[in-house]
Structures are given as C-alpha cells and as structure tokens.
C-alpha cells in the first residue's frame, strides 16, 4: 500500500524532485520508489542548530547544505515502513485528529453556540420555549440570584414544588452557586420559558452514608417519591400536575463499583435492575416523567480521577437503565469530549448506552468562575432535558406520546456525528440531539 512519509534531504535534491514531479520528468537524486507530493511545498527546517542536528540523518556529503522536509509516498506496509530511502531518513506522516476536550480544558464555544447547534431559534419559531413545562434539576441546589445576574432576567421558578432535604439549611433557589446552578442554566438554553424546580438531592445529608455524612442514593429515592406523588395527584392546581410536562434532569451518579456493594451481591445498585431506585425509575417514566441522566465522566481518553481508571462498562446504575435517557457529551464542534463515558452499559443493565449525545464544555453559567466551562456529562444532561422540555410544550406525556415514545424519537432523529454511520455506537449512542425534527412530528 502507498503510505505518506516525510523525507529529509538537501534542498538542492528536494527542489529537483519537486520540479521533476510537477513536470513528470525523472527526478535526479530522488530515491527510487519515492513519489513526491506536488501539493506539499518543501519546508526548510529550523535554524542553524536544527540544521546541524538533522544533518546527522542525511548523507554526509550533503551535511553542510540546508535540509528540507519533503512529503511523498512510498509503497510499504504501515506496520513495516522503511527507515531510510536513498540514504535519506524517513519520518512518519501519521493521520492526526483534534485533541479531545478533557476535564480542566478551556471552554469550547459558548451557550450561544449550543443554542445555534440545537436550532433553539427554530424551536421558538414553532412556539416551543418550555412554557408550561417544569424541569426538575436534581442536583446540589439552584441559586436564582446568580442565574438572574448571568441571564439578565429571572427564570420561572417553582419554590412550592421544590424539594427540601431533611434538615435543609437553605431555601429553594437560595443554595450556594455551584453545580446545580450550572445545570439549571443549561436546561434553559433550549427552553428559556420552562419553570425550574429545585431538587437538591446532592446537598442532602442523610445519616448512614458510611463513616461520614454524605449524600446517598436514598436522598434521590426520597425526592423522587415526592415528585411522583405530586405529578400523579391529578389535582392540577398547586402541585406538579399543573404542568403540561415534567422533565427530570440528573447530572450525578456513582463513579466506580467500589462505591457499591460487592459484585454478585443481590442488593447491589450499579448493575441491578431490581434495586429499588431502578424500580422507581420505571415508575417515573411509566407515570409520564421524562427522565434524563448524565452518562458519566469515565471516558477512555481522559477519565475523571474518581473513575480509578475504570473505563469499561462505565455507564452504570441509573445511567444504564432502560427507563431513562442516558446522555453523553460532545463539544460544539460535535467532537466527543474525552471524558464522556462510553458504552456498552454495565453487564446486567441495558447495553445500548449512552442513548444520545448533547453539548458540553462551553462557556455558559459561569457558576465556577468567569472563564470556567459548563462541563462534564453534567452539562450535557440538562441541555438534552431542556430540549425535551421545549418539545413537551407541544405534546404532553398525558397523551400517547409517553416518555418511552419520546425517547425513541430522540434516538431516531439524532444527528449522525461526522464520520459515523447511522445507528448506535459506543461514543455517541444514537447521535447528537436534534429537537426540531421531533417537534415537527407533532402538529401545533
């Protein structure tokens, strides 16, 4: 096969080679079997120091002459390329790709870019901005003052139907600025008129999390129980049943099975469809609540340290439940971020996880500083949840358009990422979320 290479050679030889290649005449001094790339100009290499270093690779008689790099092709196996041609050093010209975005990297684009990629304007032209729909931000808690400052307006907020952990030390909407505020901001990108519901599960301090007070899964059980009861009450006045739709965004999970009961224990969480929380998720989706979970930050390229370098079967627990949408992350250029957990899901749960991909790692909420991105699959999840909230403005889950039907629509209508084929893959799931084609399926 013909493989691309770079040759270092004296400039006089390279010049002759390129002229010969362009004119189709024999090239004096050009190594046999080397075909020069006429589109690639020869490159003079560095300064005098560089010249003296590279001259060591070239034929001695040319050592005093300036060296250049010239690109071309040679017939060889990629596994066994020649080390030199005609006495000239051969260097690889490997395929390169953009570096994947990792935790700690600078933002890639802004929330305006995300809105553009989602065609939020197209949604709004259809009259879909989340009005009448509630988005429950299940997280550390929302800070409305910060949101007001960065958005220039006060988002709709339902304090009455927000959840307060036992012994809560903050009121709804008044939690310290942090992760929950980031998620709230990101949910409103596609659905700016949606109503936020504050569910600060990650700030709950229940006893029994081990040796220290910690936030545990049971806090989510407790909060979801209230949410489900309120949504299903049928009273339709002051509780969650007043909303046309209820979308639940969850940017949390467990990072490693060592946080859980040992493998094989029947009460384990991370791979067990019979765990009470997994049963509750089924009841939530069956009851008409759209459930979104972050896929996780244990991608093979640059996993979060909490993953302990475990990057296989990294989509676990609720994120691998068949009853939720599991959301991977990409940047605004549609490149998967390197930390986004890849499928398939953990053995024992649904395998085709993540389900879809949404945007992350953009400058948005500034919840972690003016230059810090909204990052992690934590940001991707509410971005996707916001898309669903916008769509729910047109189609209620109390119609045949159940969460399960809408999950399918999200999968089928997802954008096939560049360089990929249609269908599920481990990096992006079924593709990158696109809400407008789904909204267009339902007449206004």
């Amino acid at each position: 096969m013909s493989i691309p290479i770079l040759l270092l050679m004296p400039s006089s030889v390279a010049s002759g080679a390129q002229v010969a290649a362009m004119t189709g005449t024999p090239a004096p001094g050009l190594p046999a079997g080397f075909v020069a790339d006429t589109q690639f100009p020869m490159i003079l290499l560095g300064d005098q120091d560089t010249q003296s270093r590279v001259s060591g690779f070239a034929a001695p008689e040319f050592a005093a002459e300036p060296q250049v790099a010239i690109r071309g092709f040679v017939d060889a196996a990629i596994e066994d390329p020649p080390q030199s041609l005609g006495g000239f050093q051969v260097f690889a010209d490997p395929r390169i790709e953009p570096f994947q975005t990792c935790i700690g990297d600078r933002p890639v684009g802004t929330h305006d870019d995300v809105a553009e990629r989602l065609d939020a304007a197209g949604l709004h032209e259809l009259g879909l901005d989340g009005e009448g729909v509630a988005i429950a931000i299940v997280d550390t808690g929302i800070n409305l003052v910060h949101l007001r400052a960065v958005m220039g307006r006060t988002p709709r907020f339902d304090a009455v139907n927000s959840w307060a952990p036992p012994n809560a030390d903050h009121e709804a909407g008044e939690w310290p600025v942090g992760h929950g505020t980031m998620c709230a901001f990101d949910a409103l990108i596609a659905a700016p008129a949606a109503t936020l519901v504050d569910v600060p599960v990650l700030s709950a301090k229940l006893p029994g999390g081990g040796s220290a007070m910690s936030s545990t899964l049971s806090a989510a059980l407790l909060a979801f129980s209230q949410m489900l009861g309120s949504w299903n009450s049928g009273r339709g006045n002051r509780d969650l049943s007043q909303y046309r739709g209820l979308v639940c965004s969850n940017s949390w999970g467990i990072f490693h099975p060592s946080w859980d009961f040992p493998a094989g224990h029947p009460g384990r969480y991370c791979d067990n469809p019979d765990h009470p929380f997994m049963l509750q998720l089924e009841a939530m989706s069956r009851g008409g609540i759209d459930m979104f979970f972050a896929a996780g930050n244990c991608g093979a390229d640059c996993p979060d340290g909490r993953c302990q370098n475990r990057v296989v079967e990294a989509v676990m627990g609720a994120s691998a439940s068949i009853d939720v949408m599991s959301v991977a992350g990409c940047d605004v250029h549609e490149e998967r971020v390197g930390y986004s957990s890849q499928g398939p899901g953990i053995t024992g749960l649904h395998q085709m996880k993540p389900d879809i991909t949404a945007y992350t790692h953009f400058l948005g909420s500034r919840a972690f500083g003016d230059d810090a991105p909204d990052s992690g699959t934590s940001a991707a999840c509410p971005v996707a949840a916001g898309c669903m909230a916008a769509i729910r403005g047109r189609v209620s889950p109390r119609t045949p358009a159940t969460p399960y039907m809408m999950y399918d629509h999200l999968r089928v209508n997802a954008l096939v990422p560049p360089g990929r084929t249609a269908g599920w893959n481990a990096d992006y799931g079924h593709g990158i979320i696109r809400p407008v084609p789904i909204a267009s399926l339902f007449p206004g």
Partner: protein, 82 residues
C-alpha cells in the same frame, strides 16, 4: 435508637396494598423495631401502582431470610458528573 452519621444504612422494600404502610407496619414486615428505621426517610413510594415502598434500616439490626427482591439493597454515595 437515634440515627447517627455513622449508622450503616440499608434500603429495604416493603409492601402496601392500599397505600403506603405505616412506619410501624414496615418495621413489622422486616421484623425490626420501629426505632431501627430512619424516621427522616420514612416510608417512600417506589412504585405505588405495584404497592412497592422503601424504608432505610439500620443494617446492623437486620436479620436474614428476607423474600427475594426485598433487600437489603445498597445506598451508595452519589456525586456530580462534573
């Protein structure tokens, strides 16, 4: 007993035919004292349509021989994905 920060908790599933069982009834189903259940957690709906509810129990007070699918289940720490 009073629930302390270092109490090792487990989740158990209890059943209720016509709505959630009381904390006393849940304790009876699990053969523990009502004080062994987390009062702040109470009785939580898992899937009311199927009569399934959950309680948090002091794991050290649990016996053995529960029905399949009743527990004990893990209550792992959870963390933000950022």
């Amino acid at each position: 007993m009073s629930w302390k920060a270092d109490t090792e908790a487990a989740l158990m599933i209890v059943k209720g035919k016509d709505g959630p069982p009381s904390l006393d009834e849940a304790a009876r189903q699990l053969d523990v004292a009502v004080e062994d259940l987390d009062p702040d957690f109470g009785v939580v709906a898992i899937d009311p349509d199927r009569g399934l509810y959950s309680v948090r129990v002091d794991a050290s007070k649990l016996g053995r021989g529960f029905e399949e699918g009743q527990g004990p289940f893990s209550d792992p720490d959870i963390s933000p994905m950022r």
